[in-house]
């Protein structure tokens, strides 16, 4: 073994955020989804024949105009992977802004890396579009509005498998 430790190594963000917001005086903690049953679909064909899609929680780049940017709400979107986006908007998301940055899109959505895997034949192809889904306080909005629209886009683009990465 490398070390002995008295606590688990990885952070519990459920605990950490509950304690942080409690310290700010928010007495009713956020309730995170928990399911006992988990759906599972095995891959139906070899990856080398699959079209693979990408989903991110990052938003579209904001308009340069500050006023226009203020009024551009976070929304569900689909955008071409070619050309790959050079930047995506992450300022309003929950991530560690002191420890790191998000200037390299591939550090949170592997759009160029997946393109390379398509070129090398590891996957059949990459989806023509990636999709952005806003992280939403409201789980019902995610379940009833965003998830069905994403499913529709996945079907339109003929996807077999999807890589989802949350910041």
């Amino acid at each position: 073994m490398d070390q002995l430790r008295t606590h688990r190594s990885f952070i519990s963000y459920i605990d950490r955020s509950r304690e942080y917001y409690a310290a700010q005086g928010y007495t009713k903690p956020y309730e995170w989804p928990h399911y006992d049953n988990v759906p599972f679909t095995p891959l139906k064909k070899p990856l080398a024949q699959c079209r693979v899609g990408l989903i991110t929680t990052a938003g579209k780049p904001k308009p340069a105009d500050q006023l226009a940017a203020m009024f551009s709400p976070r929304a569900l979107y689909a955008q071409p992977v070619n050309p790959a986006p050079e930047h995506l908007f992450t300022d309003d998301l929950f991530w560690d802004k002191k420890a790191t940055h998000t200037k390299d899109v591939d550090s949170f959505m592997p759009v160029n890396r997946m393109g390379e895997y398509a070129a090398s034949g590891r996957i059949g192809s990459i989806s023509p579009s990636f999709y952005g889904v806003p992280t939403d306080y409201s789980q019902s909005r995610t379940l009833e509005r965003y998830a069905p629209q994403i499913l529709e886009w996945c079907r339109e683009d003929g996807l077999d498998a999807i890589v989802l990465s949350a910041l």
Binding site: E19, Q24, W32, V38, T90, H101, V133, T135, Q139, I162
Partner: protein, 118 residues
């Protein structure tokens, strides 16, 4: 994000989630999860480190191919440069407890005022 992955799986599409908030994803429960133990923001590898990113994306593809049951978690074999972020992120201690309480109070006041203006 986990909720979307679950919806896709329930409708016949195979998914893998790549993320750094292990407890949030695992509490929700997804088919396949690749955990990167990094500060939130770079679950797919360090910025500008294409080799690491390729490796993590490749591990995600391995999971898609090889997992045979739901709730399969694997972990990327990479470490951040130091561990300071683990204690620093959303830290609450005696040094900032009063400031956090004030921040919360101010935000609630602002929200009240915005409600009145509507």
């Amino acid at each position: 994000m986990s909720l979307v992955a679950r919806h896709l799986e329930a409708n016949g599409l195979s998914t893998v989630v790549i993320g750094s908030a292990r407890d949030i994803v695992e509490e929700c429960g997804v088919a396949r999860f690749l955990f990167t133990d990094f500060p939130l923001g770079n679950p797919c590898g360090k910025p500008w480190d294409a080799a690491m990113q390729r490796s993590i994306a490749g591990m995600g593809l391995d999971l898609l191919e090889r997992a045979w049951m739901p709730r399969t978690t694997t972990q990327a074999p990479f470490h951040w440069d130091d561990d300071a972020w683990r204690d620093n992120f959303m830290r609450v201690d005696e040094s900032n407890r009063e400031a956090l309480a004030r921040e919360g109070e101010l935000r609630r006041q602002l929200q009240e005022e915005m409600k009145k203006e509507r």
